[in-house]
């Protein structure tokens, strides 16, 4: 069939004017729609999706239950020394320790599960309901999409850790009061310094969890089942804790994604011991970079058939 057979035209009579109108358009290049440059609209839309979703709101509610339970339990029965994390014993002396205790309790499963849910959902969730193909056809460049998705996961993990700390701090201060804080090293610091350190802890952990989120983002590009991706993240998280607990594998420990998480306790020493914290942030950055790139390598030319 030659090109001449395919000249535009409608078979019906009255529409012949349309043919002329189209013909004048033909030679011109597509009328470009002007592109706006830096915009946070996509990210804000992503955050609205995450925080507007009932399931996620319920999840944040559950995360907030732990600090409340800790605060109330400690209030009704003073814990005996030697049981539980170090922070527990200090709660009665300063309510802010509820915040730190909650983080240390929740970092094993609850917070990784929350981050894993959001990360698992990020790409697989869109693929699962089919919205991924419409996002890409808008068009959204795939690299941009992965960058925005990861930014949203990072923000979520910071919000989740800060939220747990905040609820813990408020509940703790209400039940036990604030004032001077006796650090793990025995020295005392003022309330201002104490608040600063209690704020730094969830920020540190939020950044650590973001690296777990990058692993989740990568897994999320491999499947169309968001639940599957979430479960995989939790399994990897638990696996990392198990490996970290086997002394024969001590050579491996410092490379595990979860190994440095508990180092947030170093923020409560005087002066702050930065060595392990720095190492923890570098490890998190390393995991985030490697797995974000893996997600990009896999997704950037993946066939989207869902």
């Amino acid at each position: 069939m030659s090109a001449a057979d395919l000249t535009p035209g409608r078979t019906t009579g009255p529409a012949t004017e349309v043919v002329g109108a189209v013909a004048t358009q033909v030679a011109t290049a597509p009328t470009a729609r002007p592109r706006r440059h830096v915009s946070t609209r996509f990210l804000r839309s992503e955050l609205r999706l995450i925080f507007g979703r009932r399931r996620n709101q319920a999840g944040l509610g559950i995360l907030a239950v732990v600090p409340l339970i800790i605060a109330i339990a400690v209030k009704v029965s003073t814990p005996r020394a030697g049981r539980g994390p170090d922070f527990f014993a200090s709660i009665t002396s300063n309510g802010l320790f509820v915040s730190l205790s909650s983080l240390s309790i929740e970092l094993g499963l609850f917070l990784p599960l929350a981050v894993g849910t959001i990360a698992g959902d990020s790409v697989a969730g869109e693929a699962n309901i089919g919205t991924l193909r419409y996002l890409l056809a808008v068009p959204v460049h795939r690299t941009r999409m992965l960058a925005v998705k990861f930014a949203a996961i990072t923000i979520f993990s910071l919000v989740a850790t800060v939220w747990v700390s905040l609820v813990g701090a408020v509940a703790g201060l209400a039940l036990f009061g604030g004032g001077e804080m006796t650090l793990l090293s025995g020295t005392q610091i003022g309330m201002g310094q104490a608040v600063l350190r209690v704020v730094m802890a969830p920020v540190y952990l939020g950044l650590c969890f973001a690296s777990l989120g990058a692993i989740g983002l990568f897994i999320s590009t491999l499947t169309e089942q968001p639940i599957g991706a979430t479960i995989a993240v939790v399994i990897l998280n638990v696996m990392s804790f198990i490996l970290d607990a086997i002394p024969q594998l001590s050579w491996l420990h410092e490379w595990l994604p979860t190994h440095w998480w508990m180092s947030f306790g170093d923020l409560l020493r005087d002066p702050i011991v930065w060595g392990d914290l720095t190492r923890g942030l570098l490890t998190a950055a390393g995991y985030a970079l490697v797995f974000w790139l893996a997600a990009w390598a896999h997704f950037s030319d993946k066939d989207v058939t869902g």
């Binding site: 078979t11 033909v26 009328t31 470009a32 592109r35 706006r36 959204v140 989207v304």
Partner: protein, 319 residues
């Protein structure tokens, strides 16, 4: 399409593919398709379920990578120009897909907010305009989850209308719509075309395509069997004379003498393609030649006959 087509000719087509092929493991889903959609056309992309229409459309939009071949949209080579061209392309691919727990309006706002070319100041107006155009404005705040299939389909069409488009790619746009909705979509396609947009509409239903399309292409088992202006495609099947007689051999001889082509004989039947011959002369010649005629008809195959003759009968999904 051949290399001989210069750049000027290439830009006459809203969609031009060249040997577009997609192989999934062993199966060839799309086999060397040269799709040509002229600007301003309403192109009916026909084929039974599983014939490769959706896979072709996914390749056009860059959702899947072709195994071989290349294509241009609005005159620009893909995939290099996706970023410039896709904002001018509205698409509905393999059914509607939205976030179930968001309202219809929130879903369209979501689509608009990921579009770097969209002006956030006009989002509200454009979203409501698109909803209005598909008759969903009254149900705009209902959750997508509560939408019926027909409403979902309309919402997906509204999604393609959020910005001015030069090309609309609509994959089975009337799926799940009631007859009233189907007619509205047909009307909508007509009005989009009148605004100067090119429309590529895929369907397995001939009737809906026949009424709005200027061009058709027929896919079958991954191959594009035929394409062109609807009149030209239909003209491929020329009218045939059909003579019912107890002496079909004699009738066939007369038909040949009259200049009919493709003369065929069956028991009690002789058939031939008319060409330019006036049909009424045939019966006279037959009677004059002493052939008893018990029945005579001139048949022009409908688009549906043509479609079936190209793609075969039956419900079997190809591939």
């Amino acid at each position: 399409m051949t290399e001989a087509l210069g750049d000027a000719a290439v830009s006459d087509f809203a969609v031009a593919t060249e040997g577009l092929t997609k192989r999934f493991r062993q199966q060839v889903a799309v086999n060397a398709v040269d799709l040509l959609v002229p600007r301003g056309a309403v192109y009916g992309f026909l084929g039974p379920n599983g014939s490769g229409k959706t896979t072709t459309i996914r390749m056009l939009l860059g959702l899947i990578r072709p195994t071989a071949g290349r294509h241009r949209l609005l005159g620009r080579a893909m995939p290099d120009h996706f970023g410039d061209v896709l904002p001018l392309v509205g698409s509905l691919v393999e059914g509607p897909a939205f976030h179930p727990y968001l309202s219809a309006r929130a879903n369209l706002v979501r689509l608009d907010s990921v579009d770097r070319h969209a002006d956030p100041r006009t989002t509200r107006v454009r979203v409501d305009g698109a909803l209005d155009r598909v008759g969903l404005l009254a149900a705009a705040d209902k959750k997508y989850r509560a939408y019926s299939l027909g409403m979902r389909q309309r919402l997906a069409i509204a999604g393609t209308l959020l910005a001015p488009r030069e090309l609309l790619v609509l994959d089975e746009p009337t799926n799940g719509l009631d007859p009233q909705g189907t007619r509205e979509v047909r009307h909508l396609i007509g009005s989009l075309a009148d605004d100067g947009a090119t429309v590529l509409v895929s369907s397995h239903l001939l009737s809906e395509v026949e009424q709005v399309c200027t061009h058709v292409g027929v896919m079958h088992v991954g191959k594009l069997l035929t394409q062109g202006p609807i009149a030209a495609v239909r003209a491929v099947s020329e009218p045939r004379a059909r003579v019912v007689t107890d002496r079909p051999q004699d009738a066939a001889r007369v038909l040949r003498e009259l200049g009919l082509t493709d003369v065929a004989v069956e028991s009690g039947l002789a058939m031939g393609t008319l060409g330019k011959l006036a049909a009424e002369k045939i019966v006279a010649a037959l009677v004059h030649g002493g052939v008893p005629v018990t029945g005579f008809a001139v048949e022009r195959p409908s688009l549906e006959d043509l479609f079936v003759s190209l793609t075969g009968e039956g419900f079997n999904v190809s591939g």
